[in-house]
């Protein structure tokens, strides 16, 4: 039995790492050997120390997290209340872990009761858990917040010995992470004896996660799991060539199908729901062997998704086409191939996806990347190199929002009276709020109590009152009910159910916005087939299968676009800038780069390439900052605004992850006058205030903070009467109290969701005097990718590759003429 502890912080030697006999025998019977990090976690638990375990998928991470609890419970006996609380980012993952834990518990006949508490847990089961608490409770951040809001939370958690936070890297950075951090701070007060354990995938910078686990990060032990075999990553370049433009990679469908045929079980990951629908459709048309292939994305009906997951787990499927809905967690066991279609966008996420294949640590995971166009070939190459070097784009802990804090304070008030001073101290122990000022805390508290307006008009409607004892309490018990209906930090775009026929079955949900663009008779791809939009009834979208098979008119709808990370963008830039590396590139890509050099330029490292050329009766400007789609979108808005002021008659713009194209009626002769750093200062404030981005952020914050009620499908009929558009609230508030705490929250959120803005401003400063302007007579090879997308962009979606083909061919001919 190996006893080496891989621990950079250095564990005291001579720690008790031996497994109790019952456990050792159980491992032996299975022919397993406890891993070093599992034993290390056991030893640390015996010392009562907090710990962060970094281990790759398949490293027995979850068992490492639970082993100490099982051992302890086997020794001390159960039935004393909740001993271990496990928090997972996904309901499905929590359910999966519950199932996996049953095996050792039954086989070792351990007297341990485990239970699941998520949004799906029926109220009868909740009541039972309340009466007879399980030894191990598995839950999600939202359900934990709910549990903490009950007056008996103190009692429920007073016997708590261990808190296990799973997939921490996926949570810490998000708003849910802020909510969980606040819950954790509360738990530490309720159960000071409990140790806190974080389980995370390997990340570049674990320091912020140590702080996330404890306000005294130096006391948290860092345990590094065995690294596992490095993944084998290939890039698929079918002999048919690589498209110049497009995102669907339908050209590679036959090759992908061939890969599926040659493997036991494959997951084909894509980046958007539209890609999932389109690729699934094409694969299915080619699938002459009738291989069982399924579709999985977040908009499909829950039932449907569960069926696919079950079929996958039992090995009945050969492949599933999936979006990020399958990124995390659940152990499929038999997956031996992961295909990533389209650009990987982020190294960490790619690694997460690659790790879905082959959960045995000793064997390498196998993944195939399928670039959909030539820029994406570069990105795939860059991502592969980054994985080989183990250079991940890290997971930090973001500053927590005021809206999440407002929700938490309401929850605390629901549980019972509280003292503001001690709550402030407690909140500062949560990592995302470590730097919260007392003034801001008081502002948020005032918001919860009275709305926090300078105009004190709501005294008589107070939600919180301060008693003569100095403690704050809920003014009206009914507010607790509302809090519990609205808990959570995820605010979805309004969705509508899709039903097949008036009395048919539910297929899933689509964004209301998408529906508003359809007219009856329109056909679109959803749930893997072409559907015809008939109309809307009672908040449901009614569709049918068209009588005659038709190509869908509207390709599909988008959803889940992620921007390119700056780390990956830098690597792509490096490939472009270093000619010596071109020789090792695939032939079509080399030819493409050479053609670009011949016709236009690549630009030197540190330069910003800007091309201008006429096309049709328009004058185009294409710039290649490689700063990600969001940053380019913003840049597009700012550039067109400035062009208007300079009387350059802009007509439109389109942005991709790599470049931005703007066009107008007048030729742009001096682009350097457009790209000045004051571009941001000049127009940005004004634009931000008007922008839908800020309005959306305000809506999210208003829902999370409890200014308006959450909109849930099925609850809308009752909701409509009291619904008030947050846009109206936003406009009035901005005019009368621009520094209100919720507006500050919205601005912070918008700025955070646009971290790319910082990239943009850095970029504008970096390229001053380094703009490489190339005036051209016609479109360049690089520009084809973006110009081909113009006019084809459907609201939030993209055009089918087939539809693009004709247009692209024409453009390519022009570029090479």
């Amino acid at each position: 039995m190996s006893e080496t502890l891989i621990d950079p912080l250095g564990l005291a030697p001579g720690l008790e790492t031996a497994l109790p006999v019952r456990f050792a025998r159980w491992f032996d019977e299975r022919g397993w050997r406890p891993r070093a990090h599992q034993l290390a976690m056991l030893a640390l638990a015996r010392e009562g120390r907090d710990a962060l375990l970094l281990a790759p998928t398949g490293g027995g991470k979850t068992l490492a997290g639970f082993l100490p609890s099982l051992v302890e419970l086997a020794e001390t006996g159960s039935g004393c209340g909740i001993h271990t609380l496990y928090v997972s980012p996904l309901k499905a993952l929590a359910a999966d872990i519950a199932r996996n834990l049953e095996a050792p518990i039954q086989e070792m006949r351990l007297p341990i009761a485990i239970a699941l508490r998520t949004g799906d847990t029926p109220s009868s089961a909740r009541a039972r858990q309340r009466r007879r608490p399980p030894d191990v409770l598995l839950t999600t951040p939202e359900s934990l917040a709910l549990l903490l809001s009950y007056p008996d939370a103190q009692l429920q958690f007073s016997k708590l010995r261990a808190i296990v936070l799973d997939e921490l890297h996926a949570l810490a950075e998000s708003k849910r992470g802020a909510l969980l951090a606040l819950g954790l701070a509360r738990l530490r007060r309720l159960a000071p004896a409990a140790r806190v354990v974080g389980l995370s995938a390997t990340i570049a910078e674990p320091r912020s996660l140590l702080r996330y686990l404890s306000p005294r990060p130096e006391s948290v032990a860092l345990v590094q799991g065995e690294p596992g075999a490095p993944p084998e990553v290939e890039i698929l370049l079918p002999g048919t060539g690589i498209p110049w433009a497009g995102h669907y990679a339908t050209h590679a469908a036959p090759a992908i199908l061939d890969l599926i045929r040659r493997h036991r079980t494959s997951i084909v990951f894509v980046n958007t729901r539209a890609q999932a629908e389109v690729l699934f459709g094409v694969l299915w048309r080619l699938n002459d062997d009738n291989l069982p292939i399924a579709l999985h994305h977040g908009s499909l009906d829950v039932e449907q998704r569960r069926k696919v997951e079950a079929a996958m787990a039992s090995g009945r499927l050969r492949a599933v086409v999936a979006t990020s809905s399958l990124d995390l967690g659940i152990d499929w066991g038999d997956v031996d191939l992961v295909v990533q279609v389209g650009a990987p966008k982020s190294v960490s996420r790619l690694l997460q996806r690659v790790g879905r294949a082959n959960h045995r640590l000793e064997e390498p995971s196998r993944a195939v990347l399928v670039p959909a166009n030539r820029f994406e070939v570069l990105e795939c190459l860059a991502a592969r190199a980054a994985i080989a070097e183990g250079a991940l784009d890290g997971s930090g802990v973001a500053a927590g929002g005021f809206d999440v804090l407002a929700q938490h304070i309401t929850g605390v008030a629901c549980a019972g009276p509280f003292d503001a001073d001690s709550l402030f101290a407690e909140v500062r122990e949560a990592a995302p709020y470590a730097d919260l000022s007392r003034a801001d805390f008081d502002a948020v508290l005032d918001f919860v109590a009275t709305g926090g307006y300078a105009l004190k008009r709501y005294e008589r409607y107070r939600r919180l009152v301060r008693g003569p004892d100095g403690l704050w309490r809920l003014a009206d018990a009914r507010l607790a009910r509302r809090y519990r209906m609205n808990v959570g930090t995820i605010v979805e775009a309004p969705m509508m159910r899709v039903r097949l026929g008036l009395r048919g079955r539910r297929l899933g949900e689509v964004e209301e916005y998408f529906v508003s663009t359809l007219t009856p008779g329109d056909t679109f791809l959803f749930a893997g087939r072409t559907l015809e939009f008939i109309g809307i009834r009672e908040d449901e979208v009614i569709v049918r299968v068209p009588r005659r098979a038709r190509e869908p008119k509207v390709p599909a709808y988008a959803g889940g676009k992620l921007p390119l990370t700056s780390a990956l963008a830098a690597r792509v830039n490096a490939i472009l800038a270093d000619r010596r590396r071109w020789a090792s590139l695939p032939m079509p890509v080399q030819e493409w780069l050479e053609a670009q050099v011949r016709r236009s330029s690549i630009g030197e490292a540190g330069e910003l390439l800007v091309e201008t050329f006429p096309r049709g009766r328009r004058h185009f400007l294409v710039a290649y900052p490689l700063a990600g789609r969001n940053a380019h979108q913003t840049l597009g808005i700012l550039l067109t605004r400035r062009m208007e002021r300079m009387r350059l008659a802009p007509l439109g713009f389109v942005a991709s992850d790599y470049c931005i194209a703007v066009w107008g009626r007048v030729p742009i002769t001096r682009p350097e006058e457009l790209f000045t750093p004051d571009l941001l200062a000049d127009d940005f404030e004004e634009w931000m205030a008007e922008s839908s981005l800020l309005r959306r952020a305000f809506r999210n914050c208003a829902v999370v903070a409890g200014l308006v009620e959450r909109r849930l499908p099925g609850r809308e009929k009752t909701g409509r009467q009291v619904m008030i558009s947050t846009d109206l609230l936003y406009d009035v508030l901005r005019k009368h109290e621009p520094e209100h705490v919720l507006l500050r929250a919205a601005r912070a959120e918008a700025a955070q969701s646009m971290t790319d803005l910082r990239r943009l401003s850095d970029l504008l400063h970096a390229i001053q005097g380094k703009i490489k302007h190339v005036p051209l007579k016609r479109i360049s090879p690089f520009a084809v990718a973006i110009i081909a997308g113009i006019g084809k962009e459907f609201v939030g979606g993209e055009a089918l590759d087939q539809e693009l083909e004709a247009a692209v061919e024409e453009l390519v001919a022009e570029a090479l003429a």
Binding site: G451, G452, Y453, G535, L707, R720, Q721, I724, V732, L733
Partner: protein, 244 residues
């Protein structure tokens, strides 16, 4: 700011882009659905909407009265929103509102959200009001000559860039007229919803409020809100009330 002329049953009326109706021959200004006190009503339910709704709505009224100097103002119902309104006005600006009301003749046509209008505030109170062939009511019935509020019409139109613009609007077929809501926190109901479209026996026009002028768009050229399409499947007349 430019007003748009519109004939209803032979009477020359003007549409103000702020969302009010003018009848120059009678020197009359007509507004609908102020819903003063809506924010306080929300606050009573624990939803702390910004309290500046009163100031905002009052400012809109003051600007209109300043601009047109009417001899008479008609509030077409739902001027005050629920029981909270009176208490709110007491606190927030009784004198200011009352002074505005007393500058000219003021008529409160009563609506479904109006509870007792404080006498001291000023103005006469009537359930409906007729003049020169036009009849001013809160809830429209579809009769000719009716000028009504209550339904908070909004209209949506797709721009060439395929972006949807959603604006408050008047709706009229030249025989009857619906006014948009003037209150700061008033929601809207799509003019293509059967509850509104059903009031017009034939084609009608939506008059969308721009920032400086009013845009006339035939209903047939509007983009329906998803909800409005339910009539494609079920033609039963819904008697939905607007989101107040």
């Amino acid at each position: 700011m430019s007003v748009l002329p519109l004939r209803v049953c032979g009477r020359e009326l003007l549409l103000d882009p702020a969302g009010a109706l003018l009848w120059p021959d009678e020197k009359m200004l007509i507004v609908a659905d102020l819903h003063i006190g809506k924010a306080a009503a929300l606050a009573r339910r624990g939803l702390m909407a910004p309290p500046y709704e009163f100031e905002e709505t009052l400012a809109r009224l003051e600007a209109l009265i300043e601009r047109h100097r009417p001899q008479m103002v008609v509030s077409l119902g739902d001027g005050l929103h629920g029981a909270e309104a009176a208490a709110l006005i007491e606190e927030a600006g009784f004198d200011r509102l009352s002074a505005l009301i007393r500058r000219q003749l003021w008529l409160w046509v009563t609506g479904n959200h109006d509870t007792a209008i404080p006498l001291a505030l000023g103005g006469a109170v009537l359930p409906r009001f007729e003049r020169a062939g036009l009849s001013f009511v809160h809830v429209p019935s579809g009769r000719e000559g009716e000028i009504a509020g209550h339904l908070h019409p909004v209209a949506r139109i797709a721009t060439p860039a395929r972006r949807i613009q959603r604006r408050r609007c008047f709706a009229s077929d030249g025989r009857r007229l619906l006014l948009p809501a003037l209150g700061a926190f008033t929601g809207g109901l799509d003019v293509l919803d059967p509850a509104i479209a059903g009031l017009f026996p034939g084609p009608f026009t939506a008059y969308l409020l721009g920032s400086r002028r009013v845009f006339a768009v035939p209903a047939a050229r509007l983009t329906p809100e998803p909800d409005a399409r339910r009539h494609l499947l079920s033609c039963r007349r819904s008697s939905r009330r607007p989101a107040a």
